[in-house]
């Protein structure tokens, strides 16, 4: 055996080392990532309450989903988070990054102020925002509104205001990340592009639309995709601000909370798996759009 081992070429020995290094990780990825993925797809075609066996029902879960008004309600909410969250956060973070990029005095401090919310525990900050949203005399927002002579707002207690009220801290926590990425993108634009534009006599707006934004395209695509995915998966803030209910009257309930309820309150694991497949399909579609946008340049 020893003689055999010394006969191996260097390349073969290296390959043995390589597979040795990879053995445990491969087992992990197969057992904890790939197998569960397949199981989720399989479960989506079954009736399964976790205790019993999976019982195949074909496409029944998908048919039920299509006719479930509660499902369409959460899909509507989820896309409301996306439709409000992505444009607002992109616009705000770009404007801040655009000006922050030109500031040298106190740059690090300013950037830190904007970035810190990104590192916080959502559940902890959800409490702070809940406190702000309370009716007077507890909640700061309502106290300020009253002192300005404006009407009080119900915020989390209203079916129309609750969703934006839950979204606000999510945006607040997310823009720090977007600003840092925008700043990195802005720094990567070569100075001479700006100099050339200046020589051409282009004004600030023309430089912005004809130089800065086109060159930032990969950054913008990356951020639109990552933030879209984040808002489609929103869960922590909603759970923590509505006591896990997604209320009032499901007004704030996103898809992930519905999945959580279906699986762990009603123990309809098969039906919940079907909902995760829908989530997966939506996220996959967005990632494919990203690839397409980045390639077609």
């Amino acid at each position: 055996m020893a003689g055999r081992l010394t006969d191996l070429t260097i390349g073969q020995k290296r390959a043995i080392w390589a597979w040795g290094f990879l053995a445990l990780p491969i087992a992990f990825y197969v057992a904890i990532r790939f197998y569960p993925t397949l199981e989720a797809f399989r479960a989506s075609f079954t009736n399964w309450n976790i205790v019993g066996r999976m019982e195949y029902v074909g496409l029944a879960n998908y048919a039920r989903l299509a006719q479930d008004p509660a499902f369409w309600k959460v899909i509507g909410n989820t896309f409301a988070y996306l439709g409000l969250g992505v444009p607002i956060s992109m616009l705000v973070s770009f404007v801040i990054a655009y000006y922050l990029d030109r500031v040298h005095f106190g740059h690090g401090l300013l950037r830190a102020l904007y970035f810190v919310p990104h590192l916080t525990t959502a559940v902890a900050m959800a409490w702070v925002w809940r406190w702000f949203y309370q009716p007077p005399p507890v909640g700061a927002f309502n106290v300020w509104l009253t002192s300005l002579g404006l009407a009080q707002m119900p915020f989390l207690r209203s079916t129309t205001q609750a969703l934006p009220a839950v979204l606000a801290p999510a945006i607040w926590a997310g823009i720090g990340f977007q600003i840092v990425i925008f700043l990195a993108g802005l720094k990567a634009i070569p100075r001479n592009y700006y100099e050339a534009a200046e020589i051409d006599g282009a004004g600030a707006w023309r430089v912005l639309f004809e130089v800065t934004l086109p060159l930032l395209r990969p950054t913008i695509v990356f951020l639109v995709v990552t933030s879209s995915i984040a808002y489609l998966r929103i869960f922590d803030y909603v759970y923590a601000m509505t006591n896990g209910q997604g209320g009032p009257l499901d007004a704030t309930k996103p898809l992930v909370l519905k999945i959580f309820e279906t699986a762990f309150t009603h123990f309809e694991m098969g039906y919940a798996a079907t909902q995760t497949v829908v989530l997966f399909a939506i996220l996959l579609a967005i990632s494919l759009v990203q690839l397409k946008l980045l390639r077609s340049r």
Partner: protein, 272 residues
Amino acid sequence: MTRTSPGRVVAWTLLLLGGIVMVMPFAYMLSGSFKLNSEIYELSLLPREPTLDNYRRLFEKSEFVRWFGNSLLIGTLTTASVLFFDSLVGYTLAKFRFRGRYVVFVAILTTLMIPTEMLVLPWYAMARNFHWLDTYWGIAFPGLMTGFGTFLMKQFFEDVPDELLDAARLDGLNEFQVWWQVAMPLVVPALSALAIFTFLGNWTAFLWPLIAITDRNLYTLPVGLATFSGEYQTEWEMVMTGAAVATIPTILVFLLLQRYIIRGISMAGLKA
């Protein structure tokens, strides 16, 4: 570049005001945590009679201290595992030439496309079968290796010159020693960035611990905090104290390692 025009001063002032608005929730959280219950309804940021009573009360509850410890333990173990395995796999994929290398790399990359929400149901079934529910291992096992970290580390190991590794081999080091003693010290900046992200990610993780744990003694900090509603109904100063204890460590980490964090995020964003 350093001209000071009125427009710049206005822009700078607005940026500073915006930044102050951004940290207002922290200011109110901290000030609330030092206030007496009788003072909590006043909106002033400076407590009239600052008190540490809330912190004392919170830490006297052994539960809360346990939650803090649980989060610390799980964050540390997971981060150690991720640093070890993600860099080992990243190194192997970057520096070894063997058949099947590309397949392994692509397979690990595809796991980035699978949302956690899809995996938690099978993980729960698995953990239930193996009696991992309500154990530390049960909280930690899904995060012991990450596709993101592997990808990040692979990018950085590609820049390590092969000559250096070959020289170490001539010195008689085996492949494991070459990785651990020669290559690893060269990617410390990337390792620190990965360590920070992983630890913070686990410190704030909510969905899976919420599912995997029903025993209050094993709650992580976020899961424990989420149950505060029942306990401290109108004691907002206690809720703020709990929130502060969960948040202050991450802010301290940020202040200490700001440079690495910002650089790490920029790197990750540009390389992705």
